[in-house]
Symmetry: C2
Amino acid sequence: MINKLVDKIKKTNAPIVVGLDPMLSYVPEHITKKAFDELGETPAGAAEAIWQYNKAIVDATYDLIPAVKPQIAMYEQFGVEGLKTFQKTVDYCHEKDLVVIGDVKRGDIGSTSAAYATGHLGKVQIGSKSYSTFDEDFATVNPYLGTDGIKPFVDVCKEEKKGIFILVKTSNPSSGEFQDRMIDGRPLYEWVGEKVAEWGADCMGDSYSYVGAVVGATYPEQGKILRKVMPKSFILVPGYGAQGGKGADLVHFFNEDGLGAIVNSSRGIICAYKQDKYKDMGITAENFADASRKAVEDMIEDISGALANR
Amino acid sequence: MINKLVDKIKKTNAPIVVGLDPMLSYVPEHITKKAFDELGETPAGAAEAIWQYNKAIVDATYDLIPAVKPQIAMYEQFGVEGLKTFQKTVDYCHEKDLVVIGDVKRGDIGSTSAAYATGHLGKVQIGSKSYSTFDEDFATVNPYLGTDGIKPFVDVCKEEKKGIFILVKTSNPSSGEFQDRMIDGRPLYEWVGEKVAEWGADCMGDSYSYVGAVVGATYPEQGKILRKVMPKSFILVPGYGAQGGKGADLVHFFNEDGLGAIVNSSRGIICAYKQDKYKDMGITAENFADASRKAVEDMIEDISGALANR
C-alpha cells in the first residue's frame, strides 16, 4: 500500500491528503435539512447528512489527490450510526481508487492491539470465514505503550501490505509537554522517531517502509531533524492551513526525491466554502464542493511551488 | 460517577472490575453454534455470540462487583456489528447498576478529542436534540498528546459528572521503552502522574477526583510511588491474574482508607471455565458463568485478604 501511495503521489503530483473530519456544523443547511426531513434530528439523520457531504467532496476532488484521511472520532461521536457512515466513506473512497488513511490513533497491547489492527487493516476470522471490517489502507497509531503496542499492527501490515503512521511529534500547542522532554540529551520525539525507523526497517515497500510517522506541520524544525532520523519512513503532516502550517515551512519534511511526506488539510478543504476567499469567487453553500476542489488546487500549488523553489 | 464508584466498592467490599474483553475463542461452542445457526458465520453472528456470552457473565457476577470494563477493541474488530454489541453490553450493565469503564484508550487533540469525549461520556447535539451515544461512565485516555488531548475530556467529565483514567504506567513488558525513560532524574511516568494530579485537582468528587490513572499490576514498585504522586486519583490496575499480578503485590496501589484503586481482571474471570482449577470443581462449558462467579469470589478474597493483612 505504501507503493500505491507513492505511485499515486507521483501521478497526481500532489503530496497531499484531504482530511474527512466533518463536524455537523460544517455541513451546508440544504443537506442537513434533507437528511433531518427523512430521518429526523437523530444519529441516523446526522450520519446521513455527513455521508452526503463527504460524497460530494470526494466526487469533486478524487481525481486531484492520492489519498483521504477520515478522522474516526467525528463519526464515533454519533455512535453506531456514525460508524456506518465512516465505513461507507472508506468503501466509497476505495471505489474512487483513493488510498484511505484511517485517523484512528489507536494503541493498546498484545491481543488488544491485534484486535484493533484486525478491525482497521486486517481480516477477522469468524468460524470458517474471514472478513475485512473497516478496511482502511493505513491507520494512525499511538506509541506510548511501546513495542507491545506496535508489533501487532506491524504484523498485520506485513500480511496485508498495509501501513501505519505512528504519532511522533503532534501538531498541537501542548505536544511538547511530554514529547519535547529531554532524555539523555535528546527530546522524547527523537527517541520515538528512532523506534519508528527500527520498527519499519523489516517491512519495506520499494522505496519507503510500511511504517510511517506523524509530525505536525506546526513544528518545521523538528520535522527537519525527524526527516533524517527516519529516512525511509513516510511522514504524515497534519496542521497545514487552519492550524497555521504553510507550504514553505514544509519542504524539509520531504526527501531529496520530492517524496517522503504527505500533508493533510481538513477544515481548509472540506469547509473551504465558508472562507471569504472562495465566497468572493461566487461560491455559496449550494456548490460548496467546488470550493473544496479549488482549495485542493491551491494547496497543491502552494506545496509543489515550495518544493520546486527549495 | 467517582462517588458512585467509591460507594459501590464500599458496599461490595470489592475493589475490582471485570474486564469484558471477549475473544471469539473464549465463547463456549454451544453459544457460537446457536448464533451461527441463526445469523451465519458473519460479523452479526459473532456479535450475537459475544453478546450472549457477556450477558451470562454479567448475570452471574453483577451483585458481587462494582464495575465492568469492556475493551472496545474486541468489539471494534467485528466492525459496526461488534460495536452494536459493545453498546448493548454498556446498556445492559447500566440496567444492572454497574459502573461502566469504557477501555477505549482514545487520545487526540482539540475538537477531535472533544468528539471522542462526547461519543463516550457526553451528549452529542443534533439539531435541537441531544443524544448520549456509547454513554460509558469512565473512559481510558492516552496522554501522549498532552493537555490539548486531555482537557476536552475533563470538560465533559465536569459537565456530566463522569470520569477518565489516563494511561500512566501500562502493564505490558515493553511499557518501559518510553514510560521509564529518565527526565531530569525522574521517569516519564512520574511526570505524567504529576500531570494527572494537576488535571484532576479542579474536578473533585467527595474524596477522589474524576481524573484517575492506569498503572499496571505488574509494576508494584512504580504503583507505590505513583500512589503518592497522585493521592486523590483512583488507580485502575490492569494486569492482575493472567498477566501475572497477585493480590499481595497490589496493596501499595491503595490508600490508607482502603480505597483509591480498582483492580481489573479480564481473562481470569470471563474465561475461568477453561482453568483446571474450576474444571476440577465440575464446571464445564455449559455452566461457564458459574466459573466466572467463583473466580470473582476468589479474586475478592485474594485482594481483600491482602489489604486486611497489610
